[in-house]
Amino acid sequence: MATTIQSPETESKKPRLDNGNSGGGGLRNLGPTNGSLKLLEDFSPEPSRTGVWVGLAAITMSFAAFTSALIVRQSTANDWHHLTIPSIVFFNTVVLLASSITLEIARRRVAEFARGRTANRSTPLAWLSATLLLGFVFVTGQYIAWQQLRAEGLYLASNPNSSFFYVLTAIHVLHVLGGLAGLMRVIYILRRPVLSLRRSTMDATSYYWHFMGVLWIYVLLVIWIKL
Amino acid sequence: MRTKLVFVALLAFMVSPALSFGAGTVSGKITYTGTPAKQKPIDMSKEPSCAKQHTTPVTTETVVTGANNTLANVVVYISAGAPDESSAPAQAVTFTQKGCQYIPHVLAMRTGQELKVVNADQTSHNIHPLAKVNREWNKSQPPGTPPLSEKFDKEEFVPVKCNVHPWMHGYFAVLKTSHYAISSDNGTFSLPKLPPGKYTITAWQEDYGTQTQDVTISGSETKNVDFTFKAKPY
């Protein structure tokens, strides 16, 4: 074997085509009209689903970096004044978690609609709109939380804990706004007369949104816990 | 170039009547009471090109004393009552960095007057006037480069430091009047060419702050105004 670079193929009838591990993509944007219809079998997993997982990995890493900065910062100096989390933040938490539930319902309704079990497009749309609304309530709530902190005289540079509070919540809100844009896109596509919503788009958006909820709980814990 | 000519013309126009008046003079002496802080030797060993220029040890210059408790480097100027001079003298004042020291330690100038900063050393200096009222600037000057030209627009006592050599500190006294003097090594000063009037004279020492006295000049007389500062041991 040492002298063989590649073991020779033994199959003679048809060349070996390893489908098990292949992406089988390559023509993502291309409908089957240009090629053989058979190729549809090889349609790749939609990249948006992969993409969102990869993106979430990056976001996780960023927040891990913020966390380590917070831990180091909290333990190196004695100027840390633990702030009381504004009360509206807990309300916001409930709102964000509720939005995850409504989105999950919407996702299932979309699936039912797509499988033809129901012809009613407005049900999923209503749930999606509810999610969108809750999302905006959350963002507004966070804004009110900042106002409350400012009323207490706690600004970005007041002390390290308030710095981290503003930075972490603001970055989180930015990501939530990204999620809201995704939701709006899904709603827009769903309202089109010719349906072209891919399930992966719907899935990717909802994974991202659920992750925002999880991330928020994490952020809250990080800010709340005193080392 | 043209602005310079205009300056010169204006100056000639303004100075000539002032000279024709019989003008008074305020002169005096600056002294201190108490024990001033001991001036410490400056260790320049990190900059051999400067260190070798000084045969005798150089000391700090925050309080420069003369014989009989006199104080040098005190800026004496007319802070109120001086005739309003509308433009700065055309001639530049020069601030020299030599042997890693500022010469002079305290440099007085008129607002808007040109300031030339000269590097006479074989090393890079950095001139950093820590201005609060004026615009702060911070420029490096490698050896052999032409003098820097700057000016200050507002009245202020500006601490000057070299960012490269921490011991190098000096002051720019930027004044709204041309009637100023800096006390000499024996503590004396003189403010000549004062037209008759009532003036407030201010003396400023970098460590001890300011003192003021009022004086009235009538005709071409010489009034004596002395200032005495209270020295701090630390």
Partner: protein, 274 residues
């Protein structure tokens, strides 16, 4: 072309090794030898460095020569020349790398620990001379506790460089600080351990004395310390190795290793100047 490549690689490898072996720039008198070690811990670092030099140098020469040889031998062969596989194949090479490089690295790593430990894992002796070093843009200043053996407290708001108060001492209110001796050079007696406490006034700096084999950063807000014993009288340069701003290149001071008598005299003179 392949043969030219082989020759050039061979020559470059040889020429690269010459200044290392001879410690000089092709006989011009410019020395690349490590400066004389004047510390008690430095020989361990020097030994470690020369061990590594031998191993790294051999690996370097071997790899470059093999590259040159193979390119010489196998470039531009005929189109039908037989393609051979390296005896042992990938497996052999992987094992060789694992075993050879692995043991080499482990050996160096374990040996190197000792040299590192000599600098960092032992505390300074209680009778070591206490000196505080302060780094600021762009000069070092040193402080000795004076006759009372106590350092005065530091008050950053009291720093007044124009008045030579580089450390921010408060002699008006703090008795301990009145006899503190502040100098621009680091004078130490020979053969006595020095415990150098490092304080940064503004930004990051570093304390590097080649002859002492000591390099340690000054970190603002974090007071670190090093300790060392100098074994040879002389004047050595202390330079800053951490980028600290425009005057970085000019930030230096002198380490003055004195005999005990000279040191005492120096100390007396400095005390009188304060």
């Amino acid at each position: 072309m392949g043969k030219l490549f082989a020759v050039i690689v061979f020559v470059i490898a040889l020429l690269s090794a010459i200044p290392i072996i001879t410690h000089s720039w092709f006989g011009s008198g410019i020395s690349f030898a490590l400066p004389e070690d004047i510390s008690t811990h430095g020989h361990a670092i020097d030994d470690q460095l020369s061990d590594t030099m031998v191993e790294a140098g051999l690996s370097f020469l071997a790899a470059q020569f093999v590259l040159a040889f193979f390119v010489w031998k196998f470039s531009n062969r005929q189109a039908n020349a037989e393609i051979k596989t390296f005896p042992g194949g990938a497996k052999g090479l992987v094992i060789a790398a694992l075993v050879l490089v692995g043991t080499e690295m482990l050996a160096l790593g374990i040996l190197g620990q000792k040299a590192w430990a000599a600098v960092y894992f032992t505390p300074a002796k209680p009778d070591a001379i206490q000196v505080q070093a302060q780094a600021g843009q762009f000069a070092f200043y040193f402080r000795y506790p004076g006759a009372d053996g106590k350092f005065g407290a530091l008050h950053p708001d009291k720093i007044d460089e124009g008045n030579s108060n580089f450390f921010g001492l408060d002699p008006a209110n703090d008795v301990d600080s009145r006899d503190d001796i502040v100098t621009g050079e680091l004078a130490i007696p020979i053969n006595r351990e020095v415990h150098l406490m490092m304080h940064a006034k503004d930004v990051g700096h570093s304390f590097y004395v080649r002859e002492l084999r000591i390099q340690q950063d000054f970190v603002p807000g974090l007071d670190l310390s090093v300790h060392f014993t100098a074994t040879k009288v002389g004047k050595y340069e202390i330079v800053c190795t951490q980028l600290c701003g425009l005057g970085h290149y000019n930030m230096k001071a002198y380490l003055n290793v004195l005999s005990q008598e000279d040191f005492d005299a120096w100390m007396k003179q400095k005390a009188s100047e304060q």
